[in-house]
């Protein structure tokens, strides 16, 4: 899914760099703080590894290529922040040595494959693996699921970046300036091969490598899995902190909402009589007049900021939709944060420790 230069507008590329830059900064801070100089050779080796994994491209008929990235493996063994750096470096090699992925589009490629892919993949891996021991089959399945989810998230992001181009940038005659396909075309085109071939490739690679490491050298996984028992018989060390902090819940919601938002642009029309009762197909519903209650309360609240997800003049529909999405997501995220904080406070007061029930170690019954 490497995006070459020329498919995305310079404006979109600038947004890509703007998103990637703070993540790079955070990643280098995090990674340097954890083990200091030791990371340099480690990251270099894993960047080279990721590069080699990505070398084997399968062309797919949507403009780019499908291949395993290996970012989720790096995220599982070294943590997602290290994966950001390793995959970014591998992408840089590809852009400079092979012209595979552009230099202007490098920021966008990094957002897709070096940021979204490891973080989404790692989150799914953590979610599925739970507190299972390091050598369990569940962990292998979790790794495969993480790889599958990660590469599909990256592909979806690339499809969205392609798909918003024709709406935003056109010549005066209406010819699209950059990637000419709409979201309704790019999302299926990217999703189909990634849900099948590339997803399978990444799942096999991620699950296979974890299975091998668990079999051959399980101790390599210990530093990145603090508190997780080696095998079913071992007693786990006590957990250090709560996994579901309000901040994390909110961050997860934000990520999910941002990924799902563009789907709304694909929706063909309104919901059942959403905009006005006149849109209802009354004959099909078996009634011959608009119900009185609906008539009465329709338009009861009309003081909306962005009515119908658009500006009042009806211009710039896509931009207005995205702006509505940003406002909506921000409001709901605040709400999620408030609810999560409240739940945390209540459960702490009741049980002394907020995660007392969730923290029953896996190995204690054995």
């Amino acid at each position: 899914m490497h995006i070459p230069d020329g498919y995305l507008s310079p404006q979109t590329c600038a947004v890509g760099y703007a998103v990637a830059a703070p993540v790079w900064y955070l990643a280098s801070q995090r990674v340097t703080k954890v083990v200091k100089t030791r990371n340099v050779p480690l990251l270099a080796v894993f960047a080279a590894l990721s590069f080699l994994v990505m070398m084997f491209n399968i062309p797919i008929p949507d403009g780019t290529t499908a291949h395993a990235v290996g970012g989720v493996v790096v995220a599982i063994v070294l943590g997602p922040w290290a994966a950001v750096i390793a995959v970014s470096v591998a992408l840089l090699f590809q852009a400079l040595l092979f012209g595979d992925g552009g230099v202007l589009a490098y920021g966008a490629n990094v957002v897709n494959m070096a940021i979204l892919l490891p973080f989404v993949g790692y989150a799914v891996y953590r979610l599925v693996a739970g507190r299972s021991p390091l050598d369990s089959t569940r962990r292998v399945v979790a790794a495969a699921a993480g790889g599958y989810a990660g590469i599909n998230a990256a592909a979806l992001a690339a499809a969205v970046e392609f798909g918003i181009q024709p709406d935003l940038f056109r010549t005066s005659s209406g010819a699209p300036l950059y990637s000419p396909y709409h979201l309704s075309q790019t999302i299926p085109a990217m999703a189909l091969p990634h849900l099948t071939f590339a997803g399978a490739a990444e799942a096999i690679l991620t699950g296979g490598v974890l299975a091998y490491l668990a079999r051959a050298d399980v101790r390599r996984l210990v530093p990145s899995h603090p508190g997780v028992p080696l095998s079913a018989g071992d007693a786990p060390s006590p957990r250090r902190h709560r996994v579901l902090t309000p901040g994390r819940v909110t961050a997860a919601f934000l990520a999910l909402a941002v990924v799902l938002t563009p789907l709304g642009l694909l929706a063909p029309g309104g919901a059942f009589g959403e905009d006005s009762p006149a849109d209802l197909d009354l004959g099909r519903a078996g009634i011959d007049a608009v119900p009185a209650g609906l008539e009465k309360y329709n338009g009861f609240w009309s003081h909306t900021l962005l009515g119908g997800y658009g500006f009042s003049d009806g211009q710039h529909a896509t931009l207005a939709y995205l702006l509505s999405a940003v406002v909506g997501i921000a409001v709901v995220a605040l709400l999620v944060f408030a609810v999560a904080s409240a739940v945390g406070t209540v459960s702490r007061r009741r049980g002394g420790s907020g995660d007392a029930t969730a923290d029953v170690p896996v190995g204690t019954s054995a």
């Binding site: 310079p10 209406g174 300036l177």
Partner: protein, 312 residues
């Protein structure tokens, strides 16, 4: 692998079966679809060849080779943005012609330069944007009618053709620019330039070391596959065995790399590494570079201004 060698007394099939013939008159013997092992081996060899050739070209004394890598790096970015903003195919083609002139002035073999750009991505891009020329994807003024749908003519639209030409020309020009930079700059100097334009030290260090490890790991992969091939009678196939081999070798490579990085770190610390990188020679900014920078700005302005003049 026992399933692939049913009768032990006969001559094994792989000795009798021809693969791709290496005779100059063309292929003799039976062509088989290469397995993933062969693809990996040839892929690795190609990478090495390509990179070695790049370093070779970068050592020649041409126009761009003489310039400071920092100037070239910044110029590349400026020109890429200018090319990205162009709305007119003619302007893009003119910009592409300029890259050809620059390549010739830098003593790059033109055939190779053109092939490297046009053989892979834009031809591929061309196929990709082909459906967009049709009225079913890009609605607009139909210029070539191919069929009709409920009385409406359908076919190639002028908007679709313009859009496709724009994308292909822009991709070709952008890739030419990047190839110009990478073919005329040795990798080490390119890294120094990255550091000079503000890329954090740790990134540059990781990039520099990763570049070396690519070749080392490539050799390791090649060895692993060759060893496996030497131990296997018949083909590796593509079933569960092949998949498990692939995952295991990736896992083994992971383990080896981990081990290697620990050893390298110890060796680095033993030699006095404290997280700083030092370069032997400092790049100098000369009058020629100032001239090149001025020319770049002029070129970018000409591209963008020309586009505005021609009309959007």
């Amino acid at each position: 692998m026992s399933a692939t060698a049913p009768v032990a007394t006969r001559t094994p099939d792989w000795l009798l079966q021809g693969e791709v013939g290496l005779c100059p008159c063309g292929c003799i013997g039976r062509r088989r679809k290469g397995s993933f092992v062969e693809k990996t081996l040839t892929g690795g060899a190609q990478l090495l060849r390509q990179v070695m050739f790049s370093e070779d070209v970068a050592a020649r004394g041409g126009l761009l080779q003489r310039l400071d890598p920092r100037t070239k790096l910044v110029s590349l970015f400026v020109l890429l943005v200018a090319v990205g903003l162009v709305h007119n195919v003619g302007v893009l083609l003119a910009a592409y012609a300029v890259t050809l002139v620059l390549a010739a002035a830098s003593r790059l073999p033109l055939g190779f330069f053109v092939k490297r750009v046009w053989l892979f991505v834009p031809v591929f891009t061309g196929i990709v944007v082909l459906p967009a020329t049709l009225s079913v994807v890009t609605s607009g003024h139909v210029v070539v009618e191919l069929w009709s749908w409920h009385g409406h003519p359908q076919g190639l639209t002028s908007q679709g053709l313009t859009s496709a030409a724009l994308v292909v020309a822009r991709v070709a020009t952008s890739i030419s620019l990047v190839v110009l930079l990478t073919l005329t700059t040795p990798w080490v100097r390119l890294l120094a330039a990255l550091r000079a334009v503000g890329v954090p030290r740790m990134f540059v260090l990781v990039i520099g070391m990763a570049y070396r490890y690519v070749f080392l790991l490539l050799a390791t992969v090649t060895d692993m596959y060759e060893a496996r091939k030497a131990r296997t009678v018949g083909s590796l196939g593509s079933g569960a065995t092949a998949r498990s081999f692939l995952a295991s070798s990736a896992g083994a490579l992971f383990g080896k790399s981990h081990h290697l990085s620990e050893e390298v770190h110890l060796a680095m610390v033993a030699r006095g590494y404290r997280g700083d990188a030092k370069t032997l020679e400092a790049a100098r900014f000369r009058p020629a570079d100032a001239l090149a920078a001025a020319l770049t700005v002029a070129l970018a302005a000409a591209t963008y201004g020309g586009d505005l003049l021609v009309g959007r």
